[in-house]
Symmetry: C2
Subunit: 171 residues, 2 copies
């Protein structure tokens, strides 16, 4: 069975046992979590946020500069006022740099890469970082100084340990 079919099949079981009805669109706890796409992070379990509680934005590395559009929509159109930036241990973003990554992609895609794709690749900033803690602190500072973010937002930075599951505040 394809992975897509497995997901559809798992969803059928979920629907059968589902008790929650439709919840309101704006997050009940006015919370936005910005974290990494990493497969080992389950925000519901690890951060105690239930369905309906919080917007969850996820990208490679939990990068704030790549999440401005979503954060503005979350805050300005849907009323959230707390932002947690959550990086994590063993992050893939610590393991490469943009120039190397561009070479890897070009090599792997080979002749499949057309001129449009090559142009997009040439300007793609992978937003990697050499140090986890300082990157979370830097992204928190980025948000605190960005005047598209609501002035009284509670913004904090955290690191999640993918081994122990422990969340520690770093900014």
């Amino acid at each position: 069975m394809s992975v897509a079919k497995e997901v559809a099949s798992a969803n059928q079981a979920f629907v059968s046992s589902r008790k929650t009805g439709q919840l309101p669109l704006p997050p009940a706890r006015k919370l936005t979590v910005l974290t990494c796409m990493d497969a080992r992070i389950d925000p519901v379990a690890a951060f105690g946020i239930k369905e309906g509680d919080a917007h969850v934005i996820r990208n490679a590395g939990a990068r704030a500069p790549d999440a401005v559009r979503s954060l503005v929509i979350s805050q300005q159109l849907l009323g959230t006022d707390t932002i947690l930036v959550i990086g994590h241990s063993d992050c893939g973003m610590l393991t490469f740099q943009t120039p190397q990554a561009r070479e890897i992609v070009a090599k792997q895609q080979g002749s499949h890469l057309d001129s449009k794709g090559q142009a997009e690749l040439d300007s793609l900033n992978f937003l990697e970082f050499p140090d986890l803690h300082s990157n979370v602190a830097s992204d928190v500072a980025f948000l605190k100084s960005n005047t598209l973010i609501k002035p009284n937002t509670d913004i904090s930075g955290w690191v999640y340990d993918v081994g122990s599951g422990k969340l520690s505040q770093v900014a």
Copy 2:
């Protein structure tokens, strides 16, 4: 108690009861889920993906053009080969248009908005859409024609009903 402190407290309970050790960095099922930041979507429960299984990318509206960086990293550096694009019913992205949204943000931020923020707002595309199903189909087509995506990727489009919890394939 602040929401941030509530999250830290919930995490302490999670750590105490945690049984999973550290899992490998690359997703076990080579799956990437691209879905919306909406508070009513819990990918682990609704899509049957366990810790370690899949990258989960989330932004406002599950928009593929806003997820290229993360998708390239997921595929090219971490070996995933299936992408599910999952929009959902009652999405906030159906309720506004960029020009109005820019006005709302400018009005709400008032004198807090500096010239840098105003310039960023003037060029911010909110990536809203007027129709859910056609947008998911369009984002799937966008990925299928983007040559930065691996040629043999299994890419499909789905709509999640936030009331019933049901996932339906649309592309």
